[in-house]
């Protein structure tokens, strides 16, 4: 139980550390606008990756349209914020929060709509539908005059001047922490267990009385809501909000964050979101012109190597020898060697043949005693865990 909480605490700690680091940099006057931009990008990267992880890692459905939800949030939330500004509400923070809620709710609505086919479709078919959804959303927003058409939605009035106040990335990280609290409590609750049960075996989950329809829709709606929030944040950092940004390449980039971090691992998603955003940022600022495409090549090579090394059946023994979690196992309270002893003891529990010998009258009474004693001791240990 203690380990369980520690795992959650690490996630809060990472995000808070980033937040504090950013604030300290601002207070000491070292925060350049580009770095503040990077922090905001990391923030919404974390939100996107964790929310997609909820769908891919916990529900077990492949979604290739996460950027579509972000697009809905960015356009609708962005427009809403611009309208609020024009109608006289000139406080940045309330505008940001209200528009984030509005954008998130609209994205959640779309999540509900896209969740509906998921009740009928499975696996690759659902993946292609989510991909199609992303493209449809983009195409529709591109053609609306209200949203600026092909030129994109101008959100210049929303942009924060990072030199004066670091509000934006503070809000972003606070949203990320709120989301983590919500998602982690969800995952460890009864509902979270129901969701992972659906992932592991849908039919078995149904047989246990889990309402599969409800939970699938629920996960899609929650994930879409947070993606929408991330979209609104994006609208507050960039102008114009352009439909081409939300192409399926971006959905894939989020998916890559989730897969690199490990599906079903929230800490992994956070770390890889931070890492990939930072890597993109560095590569983008270092390489220019045609060399900029070197970024894609580096990115692709890292991706292929990580996945091949992580999953190839032929490299299994290699992975087991150099495993990070085995490395951390040493620092756990109950270390691996002790557990091995336990396992050895349990292996000595009489199998069927020994049982026969045990029941036979030939058995010496004292040896009989010792076997029983062993089992009792192990049971006590099990209780202490």
């Amino acid at each position: 139980m203690k380990n369980f909480k520690l795992k959650h605490f690490i996630n809060y700690a990472i995000v808070s550390a980033l937040l504090i680091f950013g604030v300290v940099m601002f207070l000491t006057g070292n925060l350049r606008p580009s770095t503040a931009q990077l922090f905001a990008q990391m923030g919404y990267g974390i939100i996107l990756a964790v929310s997609l992880n909820l769908v891919v890692g916990f529900l077990g459905e492949l979604s290739l349209g996460h950027a579509g939800f972000m697009c809905v949030g960015a356009y609708i939330g962005g427009l809403f914020a611009v309208v609020l500004k024009q109608s006289g509400l000139d406080m940045k923070l309330p505008v940001l929060i209200i528009s984030m809620l509005v954008g998130g709710l609209f994205a959640a609505l779309f999540g509900f709509i896209i969740g509906l086919p998921s009740l009928r479709l499975k696996g690759d078919y659902l993946a292609i539908v989510t991909l199609a959804f992303g493209e449809i959303v983009r195409n529709i927003f591109m053609n609306q005059k209200v949203f600026g058409g092909a030129k994109g939605l101008t959100t210049g009035t929303l942009i924060y001047d990072t030199r004066k106040s670091p509000t934006l990335f503070i809000v972003v990280f606070i949203v990320a922490i709120l989301m983590l609290i919500l998602v982690q409590n969800l995952v460890k609750s009864k509902h979270g267990r129901a969701i992972t049960a659906i992932r592991d075996n849908e039919i078995a989950a149904k047989a246990m009385g889990i309402n599969v329809t409800f939970y699938k829709l629920f996960v899609f709606v929650v994930a879409a809501f947070f993606a929408g929030c991330a979209g609104v944040i994006y609208a507050h950092t960039t102008t114009p909000v352009l439909y081409s940004f939300f192409s399926y390449n971006y959905s894939i980039e989020i998916l890559v964050m989730v897969v690199l971090g490990g599906m079903g691992s929230i800490t992994g998603s956070i770390i890889s979101a931070v890492f990939i955003t930072a890597m993109n940022f560095v590569l983008q600022s270092q390489l220019s012109g045609d060399l900029a495409s070197l970024k894609n090549v580096v990115y692709a090579v890292i991706l292929i190597i990580v996945v091949v090394f992580g999953n190839a059946p032929a490299l299994k023994s290699f992975r087991e020898r150099y495993n990070i979690s085995a490395f951390f196992e040493r620092f756990r309270k109950q270390d691996a060697s002790k557990r091995r002893d336990d396992e050895a003891k349990w292996a000595r529990v009489p199998s069927k043949i020994k049982m026969d010998a045990l029941l036979s009258t030939d058995m010496a009474p004292d040896s009989d005693e010792s076997i029983h004693g062993d089992i009792g001791a192990d049971n006590d240990k099990g209780g202490n865990k």
């Binding site: 690759d124 993946a127 292609i128 199609a132 959804f133 493209e135 692709a300 991706l303």
Partner: protein, 289 residues
């Protein structure tokens, strides 16, 4: 009528690409996301060769050979080590390969669009058809597309390798027991799929003015959609789906709703899948516990 012919010719391009997707899916049970970029490489191969020689035949042969080698190399390097791993891992690797090809293309050819050589643009005139308003490009694409598809069908139905491919997609375990070398069949499938992609890239050059490193993305996704509409894994399904999408796209472009073409294309997919969850000609598999 002319729109319909244009649609059919675009549809046969999509069908060629969709065949690559669907064959690989049927046999290796993976979504080959890098397929769209193989088209791009094929198109570039033609553009580059045509800038050195004036002979389209040389260019076509070069493109087909290059793409076939590329397809087999991708399979050997990126996908083969992952055989037996989780499908999602293979999918991500395929995406990685796709990025890699796009990045390499940008490095080698530059991100500037390259105009297609004039040799490719000036096709000989066909008297009767051109008077009717049907372009030579459309006619050539349509005829060649149909010939390739018929040839592929014959190959699959009548040769030993083709039937082995069918057997592997039907039941891999049983195919192994029958003495079929599954690894070799998968390699052959990738080779054929990539060769088809080269042809598709070549015909696609009729449709676009310039070659760009990202030119494979859109036809790639559309053809993938076509394969799913037809029922992924089904070869006739890919042809039907491809031609259907091609016709719908051209009809939309000709109608007042032209700016919503993408949305309409993909909505078609969602509607069809909602009615028939495994596509038009897909097999319905019963789920077992």
């Amino acid at each position: 009528m002319i729109t319909l012919i244009d649609g059919l010719s675009l549809g046969s391009i999509y069908a060629l690409i969709a065949l690559g997707y669907t064959m690989v899916y049927g046999i290796a049970k993976m979504l080959n996301f890098a397929h769209g970029d193989v088209i791009m490489v094929g198109a570039y191969a033609i553009v580059i060769t045509l800038s050195y020689t004036a002979s389209p035949a040389v260019a076509i042969i070069a493109a087909v050979i290059l793409c076939t080698i590329l397809g087999v190399a991708i399979e050997k390097i990126a996908y083969k080590p992952l055989r037996g791993a989780s499908p999602l891992a293979v999918l991500i690797t395929a995406i990685g390969v796709s990025y890699f090809l796009q990045g390499i293309a940008q490095l080698v050819f530059g991100s500037q669009p390259r105009p297609v050589s004039a040799v490719w643009r000036q096709l000989p005139k066909i008297p009767l058809l051109n008077d009717l308003g049907i372009t030579t490009a459309a006619a050539v694409t349509l005829v060649c597309g149909v010939i390739i598809m018929v040839a592929l069908n014959l190959f699959i139905k009548c040769t030993k390798t083709g039937r082995a491919m069918l057997a592997v997609s039907e039941d891999r375990g049983a195919a192994v027991l029958m003495g079929i070398n599954v690894n070799r069949i998968i390699t052959v499938t990738f080779a054929i799929g990539s060769a088809l992609a080269a042809f598709a890239g070549m015909f696609y050059l009729f449709q676009i003015p310039n070659a760009e490193p990202t030119l494979g993305a859109m036809p790639g996704i559309t053809a993938f959609t076509a394969a799913v509409i037809g029922g992924i894994g089904s070869i006739p399904g890919a042809m039907v789906g491809g031609i259907l999408l091609g016709v719908v796209e051209k009809l939309c472009l000709a109608s007042p709703l032209s700016s919503y073409t993408v949305a309409i294309k993909f909505s078609l997919l969602i509607v069809i899948l909602l009615v028939k969850p495994t596509g038009l000609l897909g097999k319905i598999t019963r789920e077992k516990v």
